[in-house]
Amino acid sequence: MKVKMLSRNPDNYVRETKLDLQRVPRNYDPTLHPFEVPREYVRALNATKLERVFAKPFLASLDGHRDGVNCLAKHPKSLGTVLSGACDGEVRIWNLTKRNCIRTIQAHEGFVRGICTRFCGSSFFTVGDDKTVKQWKMEGPGIGEEEEPLHTILGKTVYTGIDHHWKEGIFATCGQQVDIWDEQKTSPICSMTWGYDSISSVKFNPIETFLLGSCASDRNIVLYDMRQATPLKKVILDMRTNTICWNPMEAFIFTAANEDYNLYTFDMRALDTPVMVHMDHVSAVLDVDYSPTGKEFVSASFDKSIRIFPVDKSRSREVYHTKRMQHVICVKWTSDSKYIMCGSDEMNIRLWKANASEKLGVLTSREKAAKDYNEKLKEKFRYHPHIKRIARHRHLPKPIYSQIQEQRVMKEARRRKEVNRLKHSKPGSVPMVSEKKKHVVAVVK
């Protein structure tokens, strides 16, 4: 007879000395790992709960301004520097790592309407209520020297916004019309306008760098081509857009922050329908900024909160609020896509984490593996009712919560009336307009 018994040599399974690692033989046969799905479900539930436990996004508050913060600008070469302009004409440069102010400049009399940095990071531009455009050096003045702008341009009308070209020494200001300036010259190289109303903000496209977008008070968004020095096309919405922001990864996508509590993501090739309508704010949306990954953006609203939206979803994934933070005027996403800065009415700039439960700093490889595994588990089971309920849960301040309930009731009533109108009229006589098309009034080429 031929016989062989299963006999293991303990030397192959037990470590030799205390200083060695333990030996862990693996066998991935599914019969040795029963209840895969329920165990993964329990792990996903635990991961979701822990994510909520560790969700502490607030990092720091930068104190120093003596009036509300009106605009923010990122330093293109240094992650730890941010520039802010206040409503009393003061411009401050902050160091985010030490969380202190490194330089203060009394730039304008009146509001600082816009601030932008040059692409090389050596200087920055500010525009104010005193009809001037000033260019400042990024390095502070030496000892004994006074704070003087490099260059001052006096204009005839108030400028309400400024943005710098991403590659060349050209910047654009907006006010009564959109002016394109060369840094060396004191008068604009071209002025573009379409319509008779004032323009509130202008933004250069980071990828197709000759394109500009602007928002005007007559509820339209106009796109300009710098090479031809003409406006390209415009889209008229229901209500005024406060600002737009171009997607840094997709050349033709931009998001507009509108007064009717929504944000609209447009594809500039087809402006008649927005790609997505983002609805979650309960008051006017004042500012929007994209993450450098191009997959998410953050919006600041008059209802004392900031929300983070994914580009392809219509609902926000995160809402940040504090008792002390009043109307948020401006918001920026840092260039390493990890932090969000917002400047608000009560003179503070706050620094938040983009992912609320993320552990900052260097992670060991085991931590990284555990984090990746938990992310994948949460993604796999995200539609299960218990897990969805926990992952979605956010505490909201009472005013915002009650506003949401009120607006939901109003929306329901409007929709119910529409449905009734549809039901009780001749089929085809009442057109069914999708939510996306409802808000766009016209597109003009």
Binding site: M1, K2, V3, K4, M5, L6, S7, R8, P10, N12, Y13, V14, Q22, R23, V24, P25, R26, N27, Y28, D29, P30, T31, L32, H33, P34, F35, E36, V37, P38, R39, Y41, V42, R43, N46, F381, H384, V419, N420, L422, K423, M432
Partner: protein, 537 residues
């Protein structure tokens, strides 16, 4: 144009050698069955009303799974151990081979795994191996309880509980022991210290521990099946089986369902979430005396008072696969990890083997037999060793059964060579991922399936709420064309064409469904017309 002299020297030398052909071109072949083992998507199930985006994502997932299953099949090369085997010479019956012969023919370490404990004083014994197979606990009818590491023969504790012991089980690790005594259920430490006396579980006949749910299932003489959660110490469910005395119980390791055998020949399947049994299977003409389920949950072996030993298929329609008449009824059954079936009939143990791991054992000829010094009272295969432990009225016997156990264990699940630190870490992780008792059902993968019923329900509610169906196709609007192709007549013609095509598709579908309906509605041949025919739809 290049001349010969301008070709570099190395290329000239290489081109003069004969071109060597790779004798095994392409990647190494992988056996289909091994790759199939790692696939989990059931391709035959189709999602009703699925959108094209969902379908494309599913296709991507299926392609990924194919690739990964091939890689996993290749990684099987790294498994160090081979399963044991016992083959007779030409014409030799393996069943005639005695344990003493096997012990002589095998190496010293394996020979030491065969031992006999002669304990005649304290009554017939029941035994249990821990999850890792390293520790053994046994309890005698007259109160003798002991726990030891049977590989190193190191005794952990030995006590007499001064009461009849009906069943004994290790809890999640070798640290805790549950003993079903005459009156109540007691929990002991592995040093013999009594930790708990659970008075709600009285007159317990059988115990089963569900390791991934941390549930101890007890069946009692009063007819109650009680689930006790040992991590929090609460009774999760106490179900009245309504079938009298319960003394035949086993668990299905694949889906944690408890199988109870009754005296009317039925086996009922229970889950703590439901007050009624999940299923009832009629197995035998007389009472059922033993039930066992194999480790993959594919087949169930039952034996009854009608001297039959039957194997049922649990994954399909609960149909019997094979049956065998035994000279004496088998009072105890056990499956091994590789699908061997052991039956204890009186003082004889018979073991049947099948072809592979997942195939049910063939009951034609036994693989091994052994006669013990007393009547069998308990039977269990040791988890990762080729050993069958038998508790009988003369003590404990450990039999050698080559080829019974899974040779390669997974170090992170149950590791017989784990250290104290590893055991502590494993215990914490196991408690964190303890599966709630509500999730026990016949299909453990139910959470990963699309809940089609809820989906349809949600769809209906949405149509009601919105007043229209948002997913229905919008009526065809012909695109306006230039150069006179957009006149009213041509628009109407294009619309008509699309409508006719849709109508034709519908008619074709209904024609395909008609013969199926006719088959269903056809009455059985030879049925006499009865007065109740008017109610037949």
């Amino acid at each position: 144009m290049r001349r010969l002299g301008s070709i570099p020297a190395c290329q000239r030398i290489a081109s003069s050698l004969p071109q060597a052909q790779d004798p095994f071109p392409g990647p190494a072949p992988v056996s289909v069955e091994v790759a199939q083992k790692f696939r989990r998507i059931d391709k035959s199930k189709k999602l009703p009303h699925s959108k094209s985006k969902t379908r494309s994502r599913l296709e991507v997932a299926e392609a990924e799974e194919e690739e990964i299953s091939v890689k996993a099949a290749r990684s099987e090369l790294l498994l160090a151990e081979e399963p044991g085997f016992l083959e007779g010479e030409e014409g030799e019956d393996t069943a005639k081979i005695r344990q003493a012969d096997i012990v002589e023919a095998v190496d010293i370490a394996s020979a030491a795994k065969h031992f006999d404990l002669n304990l005649r004083q304290f009554g017939p014994y029941r035994l249990n191996y821990s999850q890792t197979g390293r520790h053994l606990a046994f309890g005698g009818r007259r109160g003798h309880v002991a726990a030891l590491d049977w590989v190193t023969k190191k005794l952990m504790c030995e006590i007499n509980v001064m009461e009849a012991v009906r069943d004994i089980r290790f809890l999640h690790s070798e640290a805790l022991l549950a003993v079903a005594q005459n009156r109540w259920l007691h929990i002991y430490d592995n040093q013999g210290i009594e930790l708990h006396c659970i008075r709600r579980c009285d007159r317990v006949t059988r115990l089963e521990f569900l390791p991934f749910h941390f549930l101890l299932a007890t069946s009692s003489e009063t007819g109650f099946l009680t689930y006790l959660d040992v991590s929090v110490g609460k009774i999760v469910a106490a179900l009245n089986a309504r079938a009298g005395r319960l003394d035949v119980m086993t668990q299905n390791p694949y889906n944690a369902v408890i199988h109870l055998g009754h005296s009317n020949g039925t086996v009922s399947l229970w889950s703590p979430a439901m007050k009624e049994p999940l299923a009832k299977i009629l197995c035998h003409r007389g009472g059922v005396r033993a039930v066992a389920v194999d480790s993959t949950g594919t087949c169930m072996a039952t034996s009854g008072l009608d001297h039959q030993l039957k194997i049922f298929d649990l994954r399909g329609k609960f149909q019997p696969l094979s049956a065998r008449t035994l000279p004496q009824g088998a009072g105890h059954l056990a499956f091994s990890q590789r699908g061997l079936l052991a039956a204890g009939m009186g003082d004889v143990v018979n073991i049947w083997a099948g072809q592979g791991k997942a195939s049910p054992p063939s009951l034609e000829k036994p693989y091994l037999t052994h006669r013990l010094s007393g009547h069998v009272h308990g039977l269990q295969f040791c988890p990762f060793e080729d050993v069958l432990g038998v508790g009988h009225s003369g003590g404990i016997t450990s039999m050698l059964v080559p080829g019974a156990a899974e040779p390669n264990f997974d170090g992170l699940e149950s590791n017989p060579y784990r250290s104290r630190k590893q055991r502590q870490e494993w215990e914490v992780k196991a408690l964190l991922e303890k599966v709630p008792a509500e999730l026990i059902c016949l299909d453990p993968r139910a959470l990963a399936e699309v809940d089609v019923v809820s989906l349809e329900q949600a769809k209906k509610e949405r149509i009601e709420r919105l007043g229209y169906d948002p997913e229905s196709k919008a009526p065809f609007q012909p695109k306006p064309k230039l150069k006179g192709r957009s006149s009213t007549a041509s628009l109407v013609k294009r619309k008509r064409k699309v409508m006719d095509e849709e109508h034709r598709d519908k008619v074709r579908q209904s024609l395909e469904q008609q013969p199926q309906k006719q088959e269903k509605a056809a009455k059985p041949v030879g049925a006499r017309p009865s007065a109740l025919d008017r109610f037949v739809r």
